[in-house]
Symmetry: C2
Subunit: 143 residues, 2 copies
């Protein structure tokens, strides 16, 4: 697994260990991690701390997002894709999109380059979680 995606995957595993939804995210600028986070719906009773939002929050006020790349173990939903588009992040790399198609078209339509690594580890992690916790998963994607 690519080094930055490994960090995102580690975040997802950390979330799982905490009893949360196992999705992780990393923000990279000039080859360095400037933010990392994971979904905290369960841990913080929060509807908005999806992995990517947690990651962006932890990165803080970075000023310009020019040249940043957002990694996520799963294709971003509209909330997180909305942040990508609004903040001007131009490149997104995801672990997989088979368990959730997300807002890929929306990002691409707004000029964001989206790379899907289609990784077995990421897919199996989500498949297993969704099978065990369908209610939590449906709550997280607003179903």
């Amino acid at each position: 697994m690519d080094g930055f995606m490994q960090v995102a995957f580690d975040e997802a595993m950390q979330g799982l260990k905490e009893g949360g939804i196992p999705i992780g995210s990393v923000l990279v600028k000039a080859g360095e991690v400037i933010g990392r986070g994971h979904n905290r719906r369960v841990q913080q009773g929060s509807p908005i701390f999806h992995a990517e939002i947690d990651c962006l929050q932890r990165a803080g006020r970075v000023g310009s997002y020019e040249g940043t790349v957002l990694y996520s173990t799963l294709m971003p939903c509209y909330l997180c894709a909305g942040a990508v588009v609004q903040f001007g992040i131009k490149k997104v790399v995801v672990g997989e999109s088979r368990t959730f198609a997300g807002a890929r078209d929306f990002m691409q339509k707004h000029g964001v380059s989206v790379t899907d690594l289609d990784l077995k580890e990421c897919r199996e992690l989500m498949e297993d979680f969704i099978r065990k916790h369908p209610d939590l998963w449906n709550e997280d994607i607003g179903k």
Copy 2:
């Protein structure tokens, strides 16, 4: 001013008093306020706590958003509109959209009813803030 928009406006004024960006938001369900918040970029050093996100965070895990209405003193950006679409909020009422056109089309395309009250008080509050703090404003909208 409509009662719920007045609450959102009060939140915006509270944000201004704190030295922040004066945008407020309220989430209403069955005629009751279930969340209220304001932009906290300055106060919390946060890029993601736009007014609507703060409001949704404070409302907590509400389960279904069916029947909710999101009020905001300003037209939501893509981040906040993304939350609206993903969470299944079907009605948004805004104070104005003259100082920021936001993501109205995106929400409407996804079946969200968007009502723009075009209120002088909301517009003047933003015009005054943008004139005095152009850098903060541009940072907030990712410019």
